[in-house]
């Protein structure tokens, strides 16, 4: 069995995990408006030159919370999930020096983090767009279960870069108003930055990582199919010996885009006709792309630790296409199984199941 031994997060809600989740109760995070009128959820006071500092700080917090020996840190497996990787650095250098891709090599990202943290073992950067850090969690869990490593540090990293915003804009996927998950009037997503760290291992905690699955989806390169989402949720539950009735809460991917919310709602309605609680977390911190996997796990777990399940913001009108209403008020935490969906560009979907057994 694999457990979440510790976690840490920095996002638009706050620079610490605890303060971020306290801010969910009295929602205080609003996106900034960029010069092109698009919106973006920034981490407060984060600067481009803080790139590695921001990541290393969060990783250290999680390692300290897990109370690992130096030897255990040396041997820990490092799994980084990111979509933009070093693009923020390369964009900053391009603005300063006009040099194109001044630091192209993806692996330098892990080298610098490993040196700072004194990690000397297995490391990988997983870059599967918006499923990256969710996939990193699945890969880390499977490697722990194989016996090759004892513990894993999983990092989700996504910091401001113009390429992602302008790329999403080129597909007309950005909302200039609000992220409205599953709402009739949803009109797109707002991107955000966030860094999170999760330590996985076999030391029992309140949060067991039951399992996860990842599947290629070849219907469309830009959106996910309901059938693939149905398949992946079924597969993840089957691997965990669970049935739909066993799931207490679903954290949907819920970007607020027309097509992906439609596909996800269709799949959820078919598999869970008696809806459990369905929540969406992107309206709090924006869509943090490659980091949303770990960011949203940490937000959810810390909320449970603070004894509530977060409501979904900005839902006002039920869609005429499907009967799905997300949780609209903060509700007391419940013990049980939590299913989390992640959908990605490039036909890549991921589903996780966590078990909360009470603090």
């Amino acid at each position: 069995m694999v457990y979440i031994e510790s976690y840490a997060l920095s996002c638009a809600l706050g620079k610490s995990t605890k303060s971020s989740v306290e801010n969910i109760k009295e929602f205080t995070s609003e996106p900034s408006t960029l010069s092109d009128k698009n919106k973006y959820y920034y981490i407060d006071e984060h600067q481009e030159q803080d790139y590695y500092e921001s990541i290393i700080k969060i990783a250290k917090e999680a390692l300290e919370e897990a109370n690992l020996s130096k030897e255990a840190i040396n041997k820990i497996g490092l799994f980084i999930g990111t979509s933009s990787a070093k693009l923020p650095i390369n964009e900053a250098l391009l603005k300063q020096t006009d040099e194109m891709l001044a630091q192209p090599n993806l692996s330098e990202l892990s080298s610098i983090i490993m040196n700072a943290l004194e990690i000397k073992g297995f490391n990988t950067i997983i870059s599967t767009a918006c499923t990256a850090s969710a996939n990193a969690l699945v890969q880390a869990k499977e490697m722990i279960e194989s016996g090759l490593i004892e513990k894993a540090l999983v990092l989700g990293i996504e910091l401001f870069n113009e390429l992602s915003i302008k790329g999403f804009n080129s597909f007309q996927l950005l909302s200039q108003d609000k992220i409205r998950p599953f709402d009739q009037h949803r009109d797109g997503v707002i991107l955000g930055e966030g860094v999170s760290a999760i330590v996985l291992g076999k030391r029992p905690s309140a949060f067991e990582f039951i399992g996860g699955s990842s599947l290629l989806d070849t219907l469309s390169i830009t959106s996910s199919s309901a059938q693939n989402l149905l398949n992946i949720m079924k597969r993840t539950m089957t691997k965990a010996n669970l049935a739909p009735r066993d799931i207490s809460v679903i954290k949907a991917h819920a970007t607020g885009t027309i097509q992906n919310d439609l596909s996800e709602a269709q799949a959820l309605n078919e598999l869970f006709p008696n809806h459990p609680y369905i929540i969406a977390l992107k309206p709090y911190i924006g869509h943090t792309m490659g980091a949303c996997g770990t960011n949203e796990v940490v937000l959810l777990l810390e909320a449970l630790k603070q004894n509530f399940i977060p409501k979904t913001l900005n839902f006002t009108t039920q869609s005429s296409d499907y009967p799905l209403v997300p949780l609209s008020i903060n509700s007391p935490a419940i013990k049980g199984y939590y299913l989390l969906n992640y959908l990605g560009f490039g036909g890549n979907n991921c589903c996780l199941i966590l078990k909360y057994s009470g603090v």
Binding site: N74, K75, G77, S83, L87, N90, E91, L94, K95, M100, L101, P104, N105, L106, S107, L109, S110, M114, K120, G121, F122, N123, T124, I125, I126, S127, T128, A129, T131, N135, Q139, E142, M143, S146, L148, I149, E162, L163, K166, G167, N169, S170, F171, S213, S214, L215, L216, T218, I221, T222, G344, F345, G346, G347, N348
Partner: protein
Amino acid sequence: MYIYAFSNHQEIAIKQLSDKKKLLKTRVNRADNFVNLTLLGIEKCLQNIVLKKETNLYISSKDGNINSTIKILEAIFRKEQLPMPFNFLNSVNASILFFVAKNFGLEGKGIFTDTFESALLQAYVDVKNGKTVLIGLVNEAIADLDLHRKKFKVQEVTEQSQWLVLSPKLEGENALAQISDVKIQTSEQATKHSTNDLFDFLEDNNTQSSCPFNYKHLSFMVRKC
């Protein structure tokens, strides 16, 4: 873990990048140099083998689709334009997984990683769990070859698309080689081999029948069957 097929596509670019479309059996819409290089290596690998749709896919690359990324950064920062949508899509590392999955009918897990050795260890876990894996390393060169030489401090510009089909022992199928004694190493231990060494060993019929391989964080033994 057994190797059932491999390909070792490497080419040197002298004046410009080659037109890989001419060598591909199938044409793919919106495919650029990185996509075609990837597909070319896989076509060679799968000449004599049909993969099950459940096969997992690992693609590793040092810099990903570097030419698409450069085009987008030029559009944004030098021309102050929005990127072309499909340049943006091709620059997203996950997109290459889509092109391969669509073209070869794969529906398993798809992972893009930075290094071949890290992909290999993750594939090893999958194979231990009974899965078949298609795993490759793809590095394309910058189309502006002078820029490539300058940026990467090399004289010779090479591109590579190297692939393996890995699986547990399959009844009735002849494996080419076996990978065993897979171990994680700490970074203090010296790296002795490159990915090319592994593929050159597999390709060369005159070498010894077994060879230990040492990478920065991984060691294993390969025995030809």
